[in-house]
């Protein structure tokens, strides 16, 4: 277990009559980039929210660096940083103030918070626009700012829900490169969910294919392509759902 960053066993989540997760299990190694891939409503966001301590599981075990997410919620929160799929920024605050606000919630004192925010400013790379109100930013700029907020905290585990959603090709490529470089530099464990198979193939060491609250398969992108005898992860996913094997 020492090398395990995230441990998920038989995780179930029910919203009234709807069963969003139907007993999923996986583990993520330290320093690994782990992708969760699946269609809308598959249970990706629910899984990330449970790991992020935002919602409680109906049953099952979820541990982050050996800490139970339900019992040790506050301790887990200090280790993680979460970028939700549809996250917004505080529009009336400048980009810098947005970064400083979150840095101050995590840092021990103001000078540490400033250092964090300065690092976030470097990641966001918004130039002089950093001091403009966030309401004037484009969608891509806001997403960069949010990713910078997530990574400036230098978390042990970063949870990225659809990090490039809604971005144009150039902005998406920039963000993917940023994530890849960051993970390499800090050896951070990253779990990301995505619809984009190219993105997952480019970024992830291992991938879990999820559909209707069940994990269908887990493996490296290369292993999965080989297993389903296809050229890309997209086809592997389709074949996995259909139950077609080599």
């Amino acid at each position: 277990m020492d090398n395990v960053a995230v441990y998920v066993r038989d995780l179930r989540k029910r919203y009234g009559r709807i069963e969003a997760l139907r007993g999923i299990s996986f583990s993520v190694k330290r320093g690994e980039i782990f992708g969760i891939v699946g269609p809308n409503g598959a249970g990706k966001t629910t899984t990330l929210r449970i790991i992020a301590t935002l919602i409680k599981p109906t049953s099952g075990i979820v541990k982050v660096f050996n800490l139970d997410v339900v019992k040790h919620r506050n301790k887990v929160r200090k280790l993680i940083s979460y970028l939700p799929e549809e996250a917004g920024v505080y529009d009336r605050l400048t980009g810098w103030e947005n970064l400083l606000f979150f840095a101050r919630l995590y840092a021990e004192d103001y000078s540490e918070a400033e250092m964090m925010a300065n690092y976030g400013a470097r990641i966001a790379d918004l130039g002089s626009r950093l001091y403009d109100k966030a309401e004037t930013y484009s969608k891509g700029m806001k997403r960069r700012l949010l990713l910078a907020k997530t990574l400036m905290l230098k978390p042990k585990l970063a949870l990225l829900d659809e990090p490039t959603t809604g971005l144009d090709v150039f902005a998406a490529v920039e963000i993917r490169n940023l994530i890849k470089e960051y993970a390499k530099e800090f050896n951070t464990t990253i779990i990301l969910s995505s619809h984009n198979m190219l993105e997952v193939e480019f970024l992830c060491d291992r991938v879990a294919l999820i559909n209707k609250g069940i994990i269908i398969d887990i493996g490296t992108p290369t292993d999965l392509k080989e297993k389903y005898n296809v050229n890309n992860l997209e086809e592997a996913f389709v074949n996995a759902i259909r139950g077609v094997r080599k």
Partner: protein, 422 residues
């Protein structure tokens, strides 16, 4: 990092957000600061430009004798006109007939008709002389005009009564002070006391009136506070910032207290703007109607500022348990309206009614409303009731804290994240 610093960080963010929310600031500061003085100005202009109009019609057109003195109906009409104009609160005109009065002054408020036989009656020692009072239906100033007419009538009656008393004294060959007959009972100078009998001065009475006004001013705090705290929780969800905030290493207590305390800053801004607006409004009323001035002293302002803070805290705390549980903006708006309505009832009542003097059956439900205790803190201060002040202040603070604790207990992050927003 300790809890207080995290609360301060939340407050810092909320404060910047608030300062840049120009529409909310404008609604909170400019509206009362403009509307109340404009209301006062309108009252002032109305009082000066369109005072109550009283028409005096002399139908009698006769002359009689009171002793050796000639008394004519025209003289009586002029006396009325003189006193009404001397009041500086109404205008009067003399007209020869009701038809002419109606034709010339269609927007009159009151017509006084000196009818035929008036001089015969007023000069007799056996009859009373009557004047017909006609009031226009729908007149906005009729009641005011009626009061001034009553005041003028007392003066004119007094003049005639003095003349009659002097005639009687002369005929009886005795010395009489007409005042001892006209007004054998009179009131001495007013002495002011508290309900427990402690002596007070006119200054204290003016302070008490001011305090009542300040109790009413607490009402203006509720609407911006309710709007701000609702937006602060549900707005975060709408703008999709709540999810990131909830994963930060802050407790529910730090998050809620940070937001509630930030809200009290808005309450302070609202209260200052409202008091300024009210002061201008009452100054204008004072200059136009000659109402008593209001007296502000530092200790009264200090107690008011404290109560603004407590009322802001209480308002936010009252709505918080509902806001953190509500799934939709619509239901939040309904609860907001309910809280504002309760605040309106209590603080409006405080302006006109002495709550402690009400029957127990009415007081008990009022005491269950935490806002009542905010008003009663100022009321207790007004009468130097130290115990009452401490008791009501404690109840108001404890109610706020209890409600914040309830909000903490019912605050469900999952519920805020998942569910409809509209």
């Amino acid at each position: 990092m300790n809890k207080i610093i995290k609360i301060k960080v939340i407050m810092w963010k909320e404060f910047i957000d608030l300062l840049r929310d120009y529409k909310t600031i404008a609604a909170t500061v400019l509206l009362p600061l403009m509307i109340l003085p404009v209301l006062g100005f309108i009252s002032f202009v109305l009082a000066r430009e369109r005072p109550p109009i009283v028409i005096i019609v002399d139908e009698d057109k006769s002359t009689g004798y009171l002793g050796n003195e000639t008394i004519s109906s025209r003289y009586i009409a002029y006396l009325f006109a003189y006193f009404i104009n001397a009041s500086r609160k109404a205008m009067s005109f003399i007209s020869s007939s009701i038809d002419e009065a109606l034709h010339s002054y269609p927007y009159f408020d009151v017509i006084l008709v000196i009818r035929k036989g008036f001089i015969r009656n007023i000069t007799s020692f056996e009859k009373v002389a009557y004047i017909l009072k006609i009031q226009r239906v729908g007149s906005a100033r009729a009641n005011e005009a009626a009061l001034i007419v009553e005041w003028a009538k007392n003066w004119v009656s007094g003049i005639i009564a003095t003349k009659k008393i002097n005639i009687i004294a002369y005929k009886a060959n005795i010395t009489i002070n007409p005042e001892s007959i006209r007004s054998p009972i009179d009131l001495e100078k007013v002495q002011y006391v508290t309900p427990t009998g402690e002596k007070r001065t006119l200054l204290d009475e003016l302070k008490a009136q001011t305090a009542r006004l300040l109790m009413f001013a607490l009402f203006f705090i509720a609407p911006p506070i309710v709007t701000f705290i609702s937006d602060s929780i549900i707005g975060e969800r709408e703008r999709k910032t709540i999810e990131i905030l909830l994963t930060a290493p802050i407790s529910k207590t730090e998050l809620l207290l940070g937001k509630v305390f930030a809200t009290t800053i808005l309450g302070m801004i609202a209260a200052i703007a409202d008091i300024m607006g009210l002061l201008i409004y009452f100054y204008l009323l004072y200059t136009s109607y000659g109402l008593l001035p209001i007296i502000i002293d530092l200790s009264l302002l200090a107690i008011h500022s404290l109560m603004v803070f407590i009322t802001s805290l209480l308002t936010a705390a009252l709505i918080l348990p509902f806001i953190v549980r509500t799934k939709t903006i619509r239901s939040a708006q309904i609860v907001s309206s309910a809280v504002i309505s309760i605040a309106t009832i209590v603080f409006f009542m405080a302006l006109f009614v002495e709550i402690p003097s009400l029957p127990l059956i009415i007081r008990i439900p009022l005491y269950l409303i935490p806002f009542t205790h905010c008003a009663l803190v100022i009321y207790s201060y007004m009468y130097d009731y130290a115990l009452g002040l401490v008791v009501h202040l404690t109840i108001a603070v404890l109610s706020s804290l209890t409600l914040i604790i309830i909000a903490y207990k019912v605050f469900d992050e999952e519920r805020i994240l998942i569910g409809p927003t509209t």
